[in-house]
């Protein structure tokens, strides 16, 4: 029993969380947020099959997501009309098949080399598909996209999927299946060889694995999951536009995955949850959320290239050695100047957005419950002072953190040698 729990406990917990969450957060907003998170998790994990596990930096992964979504939407309309006998619960498979077909063709064409060539080909294919989406209105629906109706007669579970909560559970089930499959894939020989090809294609070729074949297989499988996520997108929104195949969708999945961390399997899950939450909640609060998003991304690239999961995993040995209490005070010390710096930057950004976007900039603006005029020198001065002072104390606090870290790692190493 204990062994069973140790091995499958995390999966049981995941199932439990998926079941319980919508019962705790019952509002319509949270249910649709959770649904989107589920879709984003599949999409981001499928992206990490390329970037993290295969070493292929793609700028066009949304192509497979979008094509999967479009094909699923066409299939949904056929199902509704009664000409296609597929139950709606299996619609993501249709999207996945679309992903596989497109992934097989484009994957074979683009995986002869990894690195920059691959990145550029993926960018080119992405732009090609995005531009042709507007030229082929009978498949992509032109500017307004195509719509569908997910309430159809043909189901196997008996649910009609009229309510969002039913759609949520459908997404959750598919999400769990896809996550488990993608995890198992990392354990297969293919997954291991993909890692080998990522790290050293020449040696992989010498031991008998053609890098291009391995990359193509990995790419096609990633495209399958992206397509399945696209199929769920079609069910969830009942509308799909050419934007889903576009550069912005590709960029956003790249950022999700990278912010979550590409080095660990659970990284993209964290990234997908965090970024989807930011997208939905921040977008309602401030116009500048894309800017904060970009700053977060660049900050992660510069200071935490292993992402959130990397930050967490670095602390695992410290946690196990019960040394966290030595680090936490230093973290508290550095959090304060970071917060001050961020607040200063935020005031400056919000003032500028108020000046450039509001109807009448003379009107007072509201920020954090304070009302003031955007032109007031006090606000400008305060934000600049906060940024400069924050940066000064940040440098000081950073050296304290570094000192503590070297102490802790000394102790850890000492523990090993003793």
């Amino acid at each position: 029993m204990i062994i069973f729990l140790k091995k499958f406990g995390i999966w049981l917990a995941a199932v439990l969380i998926c079941v319980v969450l919508p019962l705790i957060f019952r509002s319509g907003f949270s249910i649709s947020l959770l649904s989107q998170m589920g879709i984003a998790i599949i999409f981001a994990l499928s992206y990490n099959m390329l970037l993290g596990q295969g070493g292929m930096l793609s700028f066009g992964h949304a192509v497979y997501y979008g094509l999967g979504g479009f094909l699923a939407m066409h299939a949904l309309n056929r199902i509704g009309a009664g000409t296609l006998p597929i139950p709606i619960e299996l619609l993501p498979l249709v999207g996945g098949v679309a992903g596989v077909l497109a992934g097989l063709v484009f994957g074979w064409l683009s995986t002869a080399r990894a690195s920059t060539t691959f990145a550029l080909i993926s960018l080119g294919i992405g732009e090609l598909i995005a531009a042709s989406a507007l030229m082929l209105p009978s498949f992509f629906g032109g500017e307004q996209g195509i719509i569908g109706d997910r309430v159809v007669k043909l189901t196997i579970t008996g649910f009609r999927f009229g309510k969002q909560i039913e759609v949520y559970y459908l997404i959750a089930v598919w999400m769990l299946i896809c996550v488990a499959l993608m995890y198992l894939l990392t354990q297969t020989p293919l997954g291991r060889v993909a890692n080998a090809v990522r790290d050293n294609p020449e040696r992989a070729a010498f031991i008998g694995y053609a890098p291009r074949t391995v990359r193509t297989l990995q790419f096609t499988l990633a495209a399958f999951f992206a397509g399945a996520a696209g199929g769920l997108f079609a069910i969830n929104y009942e509308i799909i536009t050419a934007e889903t195949v576009g550069a912005q969708a590709s960029g956003s999945v790249l950022m999700m995955t990278y912010i979550g961390g590409v080095g660990h399997f659970f990284g993209p899950i964290l990234g997908a949850i965090l970024i989807t939450f930011m997208q939905l909640s921040l977008a309602g609060v401030t116009h500048a959320w894309l800017l904060y998003f970009g700053l977060l991304f660049v900050g992660m690239v510069m200071w935490a290239p292993n992402g959130l999961s990397g930050i967490i995993m670095v602390h695992e040995p410290v946690w196990k050695a019960r040394l966290m209490k030595r680090l936490l005070p230093a973290y508290g010390l550095i959090a304060l100047p970071c917060l001050i710096m961020f607040l200063g930057a935020m005031i400056l950004i919000e003032i500028n957005y108020h000046l450039s976007l509001s109807i009448n900039p003379e009107n007072p603006m509201h920020l954090l419950g304070i009302t003031f005029r955007a032109q007031s020198p006090v606000a400008w001065g305060l934000s600049l002072v906060m940024m400069v002072a924050g940066f000064f104390f940040f440098r000081k606090a950073r050296s304290v953190v570094q000192e503590r870290w070297s102490e802790v790692s000394q102790t850890l190493k000492g523990g090993l040698t003793r």
């Binding site: 060539t117 550029l120 950022m255 690239v301």
Partner: protein
């Protein structure tokens, strides 16, 4: 017909030289540092907005002088304090840094100048037709653009082949370690090239912002095209970038005027295609509407079949 050909040629020359100003810096940066700079078109956009801001304050001519060095300075700072720190995490991190930077610059421009296009007019001095041919006018401003870009082309060629710093840059393109070992400050050369490339992009922005349009999306529209240019020309090859700039500009300019579709082509050889189904539009697209996809198609084909590009010496 002759009129169409001559004016298309002239316009593609203007656009092509503008593209060269952008792609020359990008291709040098790539071959030196191995970094594909996604923010390069953002420097072009910054140039346009700086030019607009300065020319509304003190006029176009000072803007033409002041704005490019400002952008160049910004670029050098980005290299020194951003890119150099990220270098230790490898090429993917460097590339993603520039992607994020492009994102931030676009949002920053939104923040300061708003989401709509700004009115950045042709300077008074150049706002007249310089000659009229077959009843079509050719504006003096386009002639001026052509003049500036040719001057830059000559200056760049002279600096890279005839001056000491140019020789060091050329050497650092292929053998950075050796140049370093000979006692040259290679990181400083990198910063100089990055700053110089950004300044060129800024200059392209100052004059191109008037010619095209000055809006927050301008970087995202032009950026991929510049990539296509350096890929087609061959990474690191200035001559290749020059040829590819003119070629791509010509393709884009000429495609606009040709109104044939696949079904017309088939009709020419005697097949009358009456195709239905979900992809029926494919047969009816006129060549003039394919302008946006032609460069990418070209790039993907080149990368697959000749990854060195037209004149490059090494694969990407």
């Amino acid at each position: 017909m002759l009129e169409y050909i001559i004016f298309s040629l002239l316009n593609s020359l203007v656009l092509g030289m503008l593209l060269f100003m952008l792609s020359s810096g990008l291709t040098l940066i790539f071959s030196m540092m191995g970094v594909l700079n996604f923010a390069h078109a953002s420097f072009y956009m910054l140039g346009a907005y700086f030019g607009y801001q300065i020319s509304t304050a003190i006029g176009f001519w000072p803007a033409l002088i002041i704005a490019p060095p400002l952008v160049g300075l910004f670029g050098a700072l980005v290299e020194r304090y951003g890119l150099r720190n990220v270098h230790k995490y490898g090429h993917v991190a460097e590339l993603l840094f520039t992607v994020g930077l492009a994102f931030i610059i676009e949002e920053g421009v939104n923040l300061i100048w708003g989401r709509n296009a700004v009115t950045y007019p042709i300077p008074k001095l150049l706002d007249f037709p310089i000659f009229t041919l077959f009843n079509t006018e050719f504006s003096a401003y386009r002639m001026f653009m052509l003049f500036i870009s040719v001057a830059i082309f000559i200056a760049l060629y002279w600096i890279l082949t005839r001056t000491r710093i140019g020789l060091i840059i050329q050497a650092a393109l292929t053998h950075p370690q050796m140049v370093n070992a000979l006692g040259h400050n290679v990181p400083a050369v990198f910063m100089l090239v990055f700053g110089g490339g950004s300044a060129l992009a800024g200059l392209a922005g100052v004059i191109g912002g008037i010619f095209l349009v000055t809006e927050p999306a301008m970087a995202a529209t032009l950026g991929p095209i510049v990539f296509v240019v350096i890929v087609v020309g061959g990474m690191g090859s200035l001559t290749g970038a020059f040829v590819a700039s003119l070629l791509l500009a010509a393709i884009q300019t000429f495609a606009v005027g040709i109104e044939y579709s696949l079904s017309d082509l088939l009709a020419l050889v005697g097949i009358r295609a009456e195709v239905g189904g979900i992809l029926k539009d494919l047969w009816r697209i006129q060549l003039s509407h394919t302008g946006p996809i032609l460069p990418y198609l070209f790039m993907v084909l080149i990368l697959m079949f000749r990854p060195k590009g037209l004149m490059g010496k090494r694969e990407t």
